[in-house]
Amino acid sequence: MNPSFVTAKARGCAACRACSLVSHLPDGQEDGFCPRCGEPICIRRRHSRQTAAALVASAAICYVPANLLPVMRTYSLGGGVEEDTIIGGVMLLYGSGSWFLALVVLVASIMIPLGKLVALGYLLWHSSLHRNASAHEESRLYHVVEVIGRWSMLDVFVASYTVALVQLRPLISIVPGPGILFFAAVVILTMLAVEYLDPRLNWDVTAKGYEHHV
């Protein structure tokens, strides 16, 4: 690694997240406003790890009912009621022969939310150790979580449009179950956690402990 890199922080500057203008903050101040577009800017996001950790913890709690409670209830002719959890929906898809879609839903609804929770937990835990030799990998992990995270919303859309369409009373009708609310909460909370976690924090530690890793 080249030691000649200078961070904006070292110069008392911060980049705007909206228009990417680099501006000087008044002496000794951590936050301010972008002079070009008015967006709030900060050298490092305040309480970034704490807020992100709280959001990840809430998401992890919501993840349990999201998977245990049914996301859809099917009422069919003759008074039959069938309850579908997320993993049940994957099984159903696999059973009906569309293994590819089953795989898509499995990845989007189970693996991505879980992977996101684990990845965010890892990033939080690792950045709190203050002996960071792997900022490159963590930056990449953060970016992947940021880009792929949106796909975990898939099952919320599947449920919404199934419910919207299958309203053939009295033959068959589908209503949403309580699980969908928790599932949407997991997605929104982890997206907010990614938003709050300041990726620049990982590199600060690297700059400090630089001599140990060369």
Partner: protein
């Protein structure tokens, strides 16, 4: 970073070098003038700092107008129609959120309405305003508000996820009823293709350069180049 020099005279002169700090690793660096189609990566973490579109602004304008027409189509025509035992049922994009609201899942309904309808629509509307406002040489500071909105609404536009979600719903329903794909779903497919193209051809750096600053106070001047 060189490209074929053949068509360069069609473009505006290259912008001057700009100072940038990587959003991922905060590394301060100068972005050299870029040719159309070039991208600048962070010297430390290789994150893409800026990509200059390959095509002229007119191409971007055409893409945005096409997307707006498709968006109107996608929201007014049914996504799909199902039929079973003489009963039929259809839904539009808003129908998904409406059904959730009616069935007592109001929070989920708001999330679905925002990500599937409001965010993509707001994104396209703000691009339309930007396009209209960018006809002047210096852009009003009000436009920076719109550009900021466009930046954040893009992140929450989950129409491509919605598209796959609808397809999964469709396959599931195909077991119990006859399914017919509507014009709306084809329009959504068009939008899924157009949004990345709009992103690739959107020269927001060029717009930001021309915009009038909100508060050009002496205390917050641009930092000297590193």
């Amino acid at each position: 970073m060189s490209r074929k020099p053949t068509r360069q005279r069609h473009y505006r002169p290259a912008p001057p070098a700009t100072l940038a700090a990587c959003p991922l690793c905060d590394c301060l660096q100068n972005i050299p003038p870029l040719l159309p189609g070039d991208e600048a990566r962070c010297a430390r973490c290789r994150h893409v700092l800026h990509a200059r579109p390959r095509h002229r602004a007119e191409v971007w304008e055409a893409l945005v107008l096409t997307a707006i027409i498709l968006w109107i189509l996608a929201n007014t025509t049914p996504l799909m129609v199902i039929a079973a035992g003489g009963l039929t049922s259809s839904t539009t994009i808003g129908g998904g959120a409406l059904a959730m609201w009616r069935e007592g899942e109001q929070v989920t309904a708001v999330v679905v309405a925002f990500c599937a309808f409001a965010a993509p629509g707001g994104f396209l509307l703000s691009l339309l305003i930007v396009m209209w406002g960018a006809r002047r040489q210096t852009l009003s500071p009000h436009l920076s508000e719109v550009l900021r909105w466009a930046h954040y609404l893009r992140v929450w536009s989950l129409h491509e996820v919605m598209m796959v979600g609808i397809l999964v719903a469709l396959i599931k329903i195909a077991d119990v009823a006859q399914v017919e794909v509507g014009i709306g779903l084809l329009s959504v497919a068009g939008l899924v293709l157009l949004f990345p193209l709009i992103g690739l051809n959107f020269d927001d750096a060029e717009l930001w350069r021309r915009i009038e600053w909100v508060s050009p106070t002496p205390g917050t001047a641009e930092a000297p180049p590193a």
